[in-house]
C-alpha cells in the first residue's frame, strides 16, 4: 500500500519532467513565432507584442506554400506507393509458397541494416544518369517501397488465422481477392501505422532532397526552411519560426488522426 501511494506521484513527476523536456522547445518555438524579430534578437522572450504578423509575412515573402505543396505531393505519393508495394510484397512472403522465399525475405531484411547515408552516392549517380534531378520523381522513386514496411506488414499478415485463408479457399477466392477483401481489411491497423510512418518519414526528409533539388519549384519543406535562413544575411527569426510552425502542423494532424485508429481489439472475434 505504502509503495503504491508514494509510487504514483513519483511516476507522474517523471512523466511531467519528460513532457516538459520534449514539449519545451516546441512551445518555445511556437511562442517565438508570435513575437517580432526585434524582441527575439534582444532576448525579450516575455514580450507582449504578440501577433500573427510573422505568419502573414512568411506566406507573403517566402515560398513556404510552394514548399508545403511540394512536400505534400511527395509524401502522399511515397505513402501510397509504400502501402501498395509493401503490402503486395508482404502478402507474397506470407501466402505464396515459392522457392527461396525465406532467403529473399532475409535479404530484404538485411537492407535495413544499411544506413541510407551509405546509399546516397550510388543512388545519386543513378538518378543523375536517369536525368531525374530536380524533379518530384527523384524524391519518390527511390522510396517506392521499404524493407521496414514489408517486414512490418509481413508480421501483421502472419497474424491472420490460417482458417480464414482456408475459408476463403473453400469459397473460391483467388489471391487477388483474398489480398483485397481479407488481408488488407484484417491488417488495416498496421496499414494505417505504416501510412502515418511513411508519410512522416517522407515529410521529414532532409539530406536526399538537399542533394537532388535546386529550385523552389520542387524543394520540400525541410530544405525550404533551411533556405529561409541562408537567403539573407540578416535572419528574420520570427518569420522562420512561423514557417517552422506551419511545417509542423501537418505532422501533428497525421499523428492526431492516426492515433484514432491505433486502437486495440479491432480484430477480436475472428476465431475462438
Amino acid at each position: 500500500m505504502i509503495q503504491t501511494k508514494t509510487r504514483k506521484p513519483l511516476r507522474y513527476l517523471v512523466l511531467i519532467l519528460l513532457a516538459v523536456i520534449i514539449l519545451g522547445p516546441f512551445l518555445l518555438g511556437f511562442w517565438t513565432s508570435l513575437l517580432p524579430t526585434a524582441d527575439i534578437a534582444k532576448g525579450a522572450l516575455w514580450s507582449t507584442h504578440i501577433s500573427f504578423a510573422n505568419y502573414a509575412e512568411a506566406v507573403k515573402q517566402t515560398a513556404i506554400l510552394r514548399y508545403l505543396l511540394n512536400s505534400f505531393v511527395i509524401s502522399t505519393l511515397t505513402m501510397a506507393a509504400q502501402l501498395l508495394f509493401c503490402s503486395l510484397g508482404a502478402y507474397a512472403f506470407v501466402f505464396l509458397k515459392f522457392k527461396g522465399r525465406d532467403l529473399l525475405f532475409y535479404l530484404i531484411l538485411a537492407t535495413m541494416m544499411l544506413p541510407f547515408e551509405a546509399e546516397v552516392i550510388p543512388n545519386f549517380a543513378t538518378v543523375r544518369k536517369l536525368n531525374l534531378l530536380n524533379n518530384y520523381a527523384v524524391m519518390v522513386i527511390p522510396f517506392l517501397t521499404s524493407a521496414f514496411g514489408i517486414f512490418m506488414l509481413r508480421q501483421a499478415f502472419r497474424q491472420i488465422p490460417p482458417e480464414l485463408k482456408e475459408a476463403a479457399d473453400v469459397e473460391g477466392l483467388n489471391h487477388w481477392q483474398f489480398y483485397w477483401r481479407v488481408t488488407l481489411p484484417y491488417a488495416r491497423i498496421s496499414l494505417f501505422t505504416l501510412a502515418a510512418y511513411s508519410f512522416l518519414e517522407s515529410w521529414n526528409q532532409y539530406l536526399w532532397p538537399m542533394l537532388t533539388t535546386f529550385s523552389d519549384k520542387f524543394r520540400p519543406v525541410q530544405d525550404g526552411l533551411r533556405q529561409l535562413q541562408s537567403q539573407e544575411t540578416f535572419n528574420n527569426w520570427g518569420m522562420i519560426q512561423a514557417s517552422a510552425v506551419i511545417v509542423v502542423v501537418p505532422t501533428l494532424i497525421v499523428l492526431f488522426v492516426g492515433q484514432h485508429y491505433f486502437k486495440n481489439g479491432l480484430n477480436e472475434g475472428a476465431t475462438k
Binding site: 488465422p161 482458417e163 480464414l164 482456408e166 475459408a167 476463403a168 479457399d169 473453400v170 469459397e171 473460391g172 477466392l173 481477392q177 477483401r181 481479407v182 481489411p185 484484417y186 488495416r188 481489439g265 479491432l266 480484430n267 477480436e268 472475434g269 475472428a270 476465431t271 475462438k272
Partner: protein, 371 residues
C-alpha cells in the same frame, strides 16, 4: 450428394504416411462422424475432402464425379471451422453473405438466402453486429449460418463445438442435428469427442494410427468394437481391458482373478478381455470371495465410479449405485454380469460372450465382430 473415399492416403514426406488406405461411402443426407484421438489425422482427412490439402493416393468422388484434384470451390461444399474463421471486420450479415458474394450470386438471392440462414440460427437481432460483440455460441451460429446460406449440400465440420462450454455444447449438439435433418445436409463431422459422435452421427469412422479402425453405426461401434482401441475409446467410464489366459477347455482366467466361461474352445494363447464397468457386478457383502480393493471413489450423484485393483494388482473400473457407501481400502467381491469381449493379443476382436455371474451360458451365440 454422396461421397466416396477410395483408399485415400496422405504423405507429407516420401514414405511417411499420415493416413493410409482410407475408404468409406457417405450417403446423401447422412451425418458422418470421423472420430479419433488428437493427431490421428482426422482434420487432415477432412481437409483432403475439402481440397485444402492435396490427396497423395487414392480417389475421391463427390456425387459420382471424380474430385480428387478439383479446386475446393468446385467441390460444392462448405466448411465450418473449430475456430469459426469469421471475418472480424464484417458484420454478421456480411460474414454470412461472404461466400455467396464471392461466387457472384445475384444480389436479391444473396439477401434472401442470408436472411433465411440468419433466421434459422436465431441471430436476427444480432445481424448488424461484428463478431467481437458476440458470445462464443453466437459466433458459432454465424459460422453455421454461413454454411447454411450456401447452396452446397455437403458441409464439412472440423470440431465446431469444441470451443464452447459444456452446457452450450450439449444444446448445440441437438440444434446442429435438427438443422442437418431439416435441411437434408450431408455432414462430415470431425471430433475427438466420442459422446458427440455417438449422439449425432448416423455412421462413425474411428481413426487411429493412420488407419481406419472401424466404420459403423454408433450402436455397432459400442456393441461390437472391432478391436481394443475402439472398445476403450467409446463409452464412459472406459471399458476395462484385462489380460486373460486359457484356464480350462471353455474357461478363461482374467488377470489371475476372474473366471469367464466361453462357449467355444480357444487355442492356448494370450488374450485381452474387455468388460464395460456396467457389466461388472459388486456382490453384496458376505457373498463370494473378496477379489478387488477400492483405490478411489468418485461420486457423480446418480452413481459412483470406483477405481479398484484386482487381487493381482490389475486396475479395474466399476460403477455402483449411489446410495451405497464405499471407502478406500474396502475389499469387494466382483463378478462378471454382462457382455465380455474377447480380443486376441493384437487387440483384434474374436467374439463376445454374455457372462452371467461367473458362469457363461453356453446358449448365447458368439457374435463375430468383423476383425
Amino acid at each position: 450428394m454422396s461421397i466416396e473415399l477410395k483408399a485415400l492416403g496422405k504423405e507429407y514426406t516420401a514414405g511417411n504416411w499420415v493416413l493410409e488406405n482410407v475408404s468409406a461411402h457417405i450417403e446423401s443426407g447422412e451425418f458422418f462422424a470421423i472420430v479419433g484421438p488428437s493427431g490421428c489425422g482426422k482434420s487432415t482427412l477432412l481437409r483432403m475432402i475439402a481440397g485444402l490439402i492435396p490427396i497423395s493416393a487414392g480417389e475421391l468422388q463427390i456425387d459420382d464425379q471424380v474430385a480428387t484434384n478439383l479446386p475446393p470451390k468446385d467441390r460444392k461444399l462448405t466448411m465450418v471451422f473449430q475456430s469459426y474463421a469469421l471475418f472480424p471486420f464484417l458484420s454478421v450479415t456480411d460474414n454470412v453473405a461472404f461466400g455467396l458474394k464471392a461466387r457472384k450470386f445475384p444480389a436479391d438471392e444473396v439477401k434472401e438466402r442470408v436472411e433465411k440462414a440468419i433466421n434459422l440460427v436465431n441471430l436476427d437481432e444480432f445481424k448488424d453486429r461484428k463478431p467481437r460483440d458476440l458470445s462464443g455460441g453466437q459466433r458459432q451460429r454465424v459460422a453455421l449460418a454461413r454454411a447454411i446460406a450456401s447452396d452446397a449440400k455437403v458441409c464439412l465440420m472440423d470440431e465446431p463445438l469444441s470451443n464452447l462450454d459444456a452446457q452450450l455444447r450439449i444444446k448445440m449438439r441437438t440444434e446442429l442435428r435438427n438443422l442437418q435433418q431439416e435441411l437434408g445436409l450431408t455432414v462430415i463431422y470431425v471430433t475427438h469427442d466420442q459422446v458427440e459422435a455417438m449422439t449425432m452421427a448416423d455412421h462413425i469412422m474411428v481413426l487411429h494410427n493412420h488407419e481406419i479402425q472401424q466404420i459403423g453405426t454408433p450402436l455397432d461401434i459400442y456393441n461390437r468394437p472391432a478391436n481394443t482401441f475402439v472398445a476403450s475409446f467409446f463409452g464412459t467410464p472406459r471399458m476395462n481391458l484385462l489380460p486373460a489366459r486359457v484356464e480350462a477347455d471353455r474357461e478363461l482366467l482374467l488377470a489371475n482373478t476372474l473366471k469367464l466361461g466361453i462357449q467355444q474352445p480357444l487355442p492356448v494363447a494370450e488374450y485381452v478381455v474387455g468388460i464395460r464397468p456396467n457389466a461388472l457386478r459388486i456382490l453384496p457383502q458376505g457373498t463370494g470371495e473378496p477379489n478387488a480393493q477400492v483405490r478411489t471413489v468418485e461420486y457423480l450423484g446418480s452413481e459412483i465410479i470406483l477405481e479398484a485393483e484386482l487381487a493381482d494388482g490389475t486396475p479395474i473400473e466399476l460403477v455402483a449405485a449411489a446410495q451405497e457407501i464405499y471407502n478406500v481400502g474396502d475389499w469387494l467381491s466382483i463378478a462378471i454380469d454382462g457382455q465380455a469381449y474377447i480380443f486376441d493379443h493384437d487387440g483384434q476382436a474374436q467374439f463376445m460372450v454374455e457372462g452371467g455371474l461367473n458362469h457363461a451360458r453356453g446358449d448365447h451365440a458368439g457374435v463375430q465382430a468383423g476383425a
